[in-house]
Symmetry: C2
Subunit: 258 residues, 2 copies
DNA sequence: ACGCATTTGTTCGTATGTATT
DNA sequence: TAATACATACGAACAAATGCG
C-alpha cells in the first residue's frame, strides 16, 4: 500500500475533519478537495476539459482509480460533467441540456416553451437587513437589485426580485442583462466569474399585493407561490438571494422526492 | 476477461435497453436489476441485512467490485443502506433518521416538532377519474380515501387527502391508522407490503375553500400551498396519490436545488 | 472509409484499512 | 482478540465513444 505522498495536504484538515470528527480523510477525498480548489481558482474554466484521469493521477501521485472516485463524486455534485471518449469538463450554465436545472415551473398542459424576459429595474442600493443576513454581508453594504418578469405565451407568470452582492457584480446593468442571450446564470459565470453550484429554496403560498398583482396581471389577493432562493457557490458561499412570485394558475412547481 | 455467465439475464433487455437504444447493459447494471427483483419479491424484508458483497458475488458469479458498484447505485437511490462493519440493509420507513425524508415542511422559527395526527375519515369508494388516472387503475375501481389533519403546537397546518388502490390496501381502517405509532409509510410497508420508493410532487398556490378553511382554521380565500404527490414503488408503479393543503403562515416548504 | 490514438467506462483481482460484534 | 463486513487503494486489461489523419 502506497503511503500518501508529501504533495498531498495530509496534515491539513480536509473534508472529513471536524470538531470531534475523524482527523483524517481518504485519499480520494483529499484529491477531491485539490480538484475543487483548482476549479475555484479558475485553473480550468467552465466548459473547458480538465486533464485526463491519467494525467491527474500522475500529477497527484495516486492511482487512476483514486482520481476516478474523486471525479465521480464531483460529477455527482454537478461540478464536473463526464463524456466518454472526450474527457471530463467543467460544468457550465450555458449548456442546453443543463439550462433548466434551476427552473422548476412546468405548464399544466403543453410543452415547456422558453420564457420571454422583461427587466423592469436594475439598481444599486444598501442591503436591507434580511438580504444582508441571507448573503452574509454587512447590513448597508451595497447590493444590486434586479427586478424582472418572465412570461410564457405572452402571459406574465413569474415576478423575480434578485439581490446580488455589489462587490462581485460591479458593472451589472439592465442593458447587459437585456442584451445577453441565454440564462442569467451563464452571464454571471462568463462576465463576473461567479458560478452557482446549488441553491436552497423556501416555498410559501401568499396573497398578491397591489404592485405584484399588476405586474402579473392578477387581482390583488390572488394566491401566488412565493419562492425564496439562496444560491451558493464553492464553499457554500451565498452569492444570490431572490424572491420569486409565481402565478400557478396554469403552471406548477415540480419536485421530486427520493 | 470473464464472459458473462449464463445465470445472468444477458439476453434479456435490462436497464439500458430501449427502443433504438443499446441491446446490452453493463454487468453491474444487470446485477442491480437482479438485486432489485429480490427486493421487490420480498426475499429480504425492510430493515433486514442483505447478503454480504462476497456472498452476492459468489451467487451471481461476478467479482466483488461489480456487486459493489451495483449496491452503490441502489444505496444512492435509497433502496439500500450501507453500514460499515455491519452490512447492507434494506431501507425502511420506520427508521428515525430517514423518517422525515418525505416531509418538507419546516417551521419559520423554532425546532421541528413531531406532528399530532387526527384522522377525519377513512372510507372506500369508486375512484374518481383524476385519481384513477394518477394511480393507473380503471375509473370506478375501488380506492381507499383517507383524510387527516396534521397539527404542530396544537395548530392545524396540513390537510391531507390520500387515495390508495383498494386492491393493495384491504383492511385499512381509521382505527389501524390511529393506533399505529410511527410514520404512515412505515405502516404501509409493515402491514401491506407496499414500499414507497420515490415520489413526484406538483406545487401550487390556491385559495382556501369553505371546508378546508374550517379544518385549517383560516378564513376562506386564505392562500394555501397545494401539494399533489404521486408516490411510486418498485418499477415506478404508482401506489399512492395525495393532495395536501399546507398553511404556510408559520411554516415553509424547503427544497434543495442541485 | 479505415484505422489509430486518446479518454472515459467496465471488470477483474488483490491487499489493506476501519468499524462492528 | 478474532472474525466479519464494508471502505479504500492499487494495478491491469479490455470495451466503447470520439476525433484525427
Amino acid at each position: 500500500m502506497a503511503t500518501p505522498p508529501s504533495s498531498l495536504p495530509n496534515d491539513m484538515p480536509a473534508a472529513g475533519a471536524e470538531a470531534g470528527g475523524p482527523a483524517f480523510s481518504p485519499l480520494y477525498q483529499q484529491i477531491k478537495v485539490l480538484i475543487t480548489r483548482s476549479l475555484q481558482a479558475g485553473e480550468w474554466r467552465p466548459g473547458e476539459a480538465i486533464p485526463s484521469e491519467v494525467d491527474l493521477a500522475a500529477r497527484f501521485r495516486v492511482s487512476q482509480g483514486t482520481v476516478r472516485k474523486a471525479i465521480d463524486e464531483l460529477a455527482a455534485e454537478n461540478l464536473l460533467v463526464r463524456r466518454q471518449g472526450k474527457g471530463t469538463f467543467v460544468a457550465t450554465h450555458s449548456e442546453e441540456k443543463i439550462q433548466y436545472r434551476f427552473l422548476r415551473l412546468m405548464p399544466d398542459d403543453g410543452e415547456l416553451v422558453s420564457a420571454q424576459r422583461r427587466f423592469i429595474d436594475c439598481r444599486r442600493l444598501r442591503a436591507p437587513a434580511e438580504v444582508a443576513r441571507a448573503l452574509q454581508i454587512r447590513a448597508g453594504d451595497t447590493v444590486v437589485q434586479v427586478r424582472r418578469v418572465l412570461s410564457f405565451h405572452e402571459r406574465p407568470v413569474i415576478l423575480d426580485d434578485i439581490w446580488l452582492p455589489g462587490q462581485e457584480f460591479k458593472g451589472l446593468t439592465a442593458e447587459r442583462l437585456s442584451d445577453y442571450r441565454g440564462p442569467m446564470y451563464a452571464l454571471f459565470e462568463a462576465e463576473f466569474g461567479v458560478r452557482m453550484i446549488r441553491a436552497e429554496e423556501k416555498l410559501r403560498a401568499v396573497a398578491a399585493e397591489e404592485g405584484s398583482a399588476e405586474l402579473l396581471a392578477v387581482a390583488p389577493g390572488h394566491p401566488l407561490l412565493s419562492v425564496e432562493r439562496l444560491s451558493l457557490t464553492y464553499g457554500d458561499k451565498p452569492v444570490e438571494f431572490r424572491r420569486g412570485l409565481y402565478n400557478t394558475a396554469a403552471h406548477y412547481y415540480r419536485n421530486e422526492l427520493s
